[in-house]
Symmetry: C2
Subunit: 197 residues, 2 copies
């Protein structure tokens, strides 16, 4: 059995963009499989008493995060454009990601959505942007018909419940066996752990 790493992300999370763009290759080099696990931070932040992104609630933290993203993207050769609205509503994107079977098409879709938002500054709560991302991913355009389907709503609800059960409190998070790793900075450690067990 190949070692597996769960990648938990919220489409509204800036640092999840960094991980989404490199995780597949970084894991593949070590023979590690990536499970792409979309979820929503909103309900988890709400339990911490936050009704907004901590980067908006705490201005010094937010100011730093945007500069940090700018520097990291430049260092990695990743396009970066700060979107006008932050955080964006990631509900529809998360549902669509779950509507796509796990595998390359889901991964392609996730990268397309993050690139549209943080590489091009577009609003990924808009259905026309998400439709473009679906087209790029190779998944069926008909999936937009499932956005309000009960089984997809339930699937996302269950993802949030799973994230809470895993003690996830931010994104990106990586889960390998019983270990939780938080933040793009821990991706390398998570992969190393995956191949060690």
């Amino acid at each position: 059995m190949r070692p597996t790493l769960q990648f938990w992300f919220d489409f509204a999370s800036t640092y999840s963009y960094l991980s989404a763009m490199r995780i597949q290759q970084a894991a593949a080099v070590h023979g590690v499989l990536v499970e792409w696990q979309p979820f929503l931070l909103g309900p988890i932040f709400a339990e911490q008493g936050w009704d907004n992104s901590p980067f908006n609630i705490y201005p010094a933290k937010g100011r730093y995060m945007w500069r940090d993203m700018e520097r990291l993207c430049a260092a990695r050769g990743l396009p970066f454009q700060r979107p006008e609205r932050f955080p964006q509503n990631s509900l529809t994107a998360a549902r669509l990601a779950l509507a796509i079977d796990p595998g390359d098409q889901r991964a392609n879709f996730v990268r397309a959505v993050f690139s549209a938002q943080f590489g091009s500054g577009r609003d990924v709560s808009e259905l026309n942007v998400l439709s473009e991302c679906l087209a790029i991913s190779g998944a069926s355009a008909n999936l937009t018909g499932q956005i309000r389907a009960p089984h997809i709503k339930t699937a996302l609800f269950e993802q949030v419940a799973r994230a809470k059960a895993l003690h996830i409190f931010g994104a990106p998070s990586f889960v390998v066996g019983d270990e939780l790793f938080w933040g793009d900075d821990r991706l390398g450690d998570a992969i190393s752990y995956a191949i060690s067990i």
Copy 2:
């Protein structure tokens, strides 16, 4: 002129321990000078509405931090023991650090305090522990007489004001020129930046 990196730390900060133990060697390899800048996070957290460590206010974050510290210390061969009380009152330690002239003795003292607290689990708000740290550092034991000296109180007050002016919101933080780097994970980036400008 040798490139310089300001290292801003609070003695109560777990991740500052990680940086304190490696910064001098990591910087020296690249010919970078380290300025050891003690400050207090308390007044900065208070402005964010926190009257305690965020690791206590947000239990999932705290639970993760302790496990993360355990893993990182093991990987780096650093002793780690979770102190009974967290966060500890770091006021006296910070004042003593400022009472020691910048240089090797101050650096020795800082490492000794962090090691006592997070390597041995001791309470560094206790004067006898701090006196041992002074002895280890090579600084004069008489410095404990300055803990309530007006010029030392003022010096610490000014450190906090400087930290705020630098938009510091957490520890450890590294300042190089106009750039702020937050977290032990950014130490390498801060050093790289210092030698690039």
